[in-house]
Amino acid sequence: EPEVTQTPSHQVTQMGQEVILRCVPISNHLYFYWYRQILGQKVEFLVSFYNNEISEKSEIFDDQFSVERPDGSNFTLKIRSTKLEDSAMYFCASCRDYAETQYFGPGTRLLVL
């Protein structure tokens, strides 16, 4: 069964460093999302992406964040200058069409020291 994959599974970085989190959505899906979950808190929406552009973003998704679909399969989230409070589990999700079920990847656990 097709699934969303994410790499790396864990990432440790120093404050101020750039990180890129990678996702491979399910192949025939058209809508892509990033969510994050700070330890012990709710899963929060960051950004949605459709037709090679951002369709919606939350207030968390500030200028330090960017997303890209560099080729036909990968979907990336870049954090330019990481802060301690960026430490969280980051989930990628995709769905086939608007308002259909979103399927989540296993997540990347990011720790900023």
Binding site: V43, S55, F91, Y98, Q102, Y103, F104, R109
Partner: protein, 110 residues
């Protein structure tokens, strides 16, 4: 903005017992999703409900959406250790980003 309240926050049940988890929305739901999350892992899709009064079942898990589309319940029959994890409800409030509840942590003891 839409808020989802889940209850209880945590639940410990003996294997074989039934249990119910509730999810209440501050606004009318266009779609209500149930996901399961094991500690430190991703969200596994369980079920989606869209119509008022809708009920869906998968194996021993049944989810319902009330007629007013503001509350959903997840019922597990004859719980097993494999049911342990955190159950999250997620709402589609009319646009595609999902809003999630805090989750209900379920432990099943032998």
């Amino acid at each position: 903005s839409q808020e989802l309240e889940q209850s209880p926050q945590s639940l410990i049940v003996q294997e074989g017992k039934n249990l119910t988890i509730n999810c209440t929305s501050s606004k009318t739901l266009y779609g209500l999703y149930w996901y399961k999350q094991k500690y430190g892992e991703g969200l596994i899709f369980l079920m989606m409900l869209q119509k008022g009064g809708e009920e869906k079942s998968h194996e021993k898990i049944t989810a319902k959406l009330d007629e007013k589309k503001q509350q959903s319940s997840l019922h597990i029959t004859a719980s097993q250790p494999s049911h342990a994890g955190t159950y999250l409800c997620g709402a589609d409030a009319g646009n595609t980003p999902l809003v999630f509840g805090k989750g209900t942590r379920l432990s099943v003891i032998a």
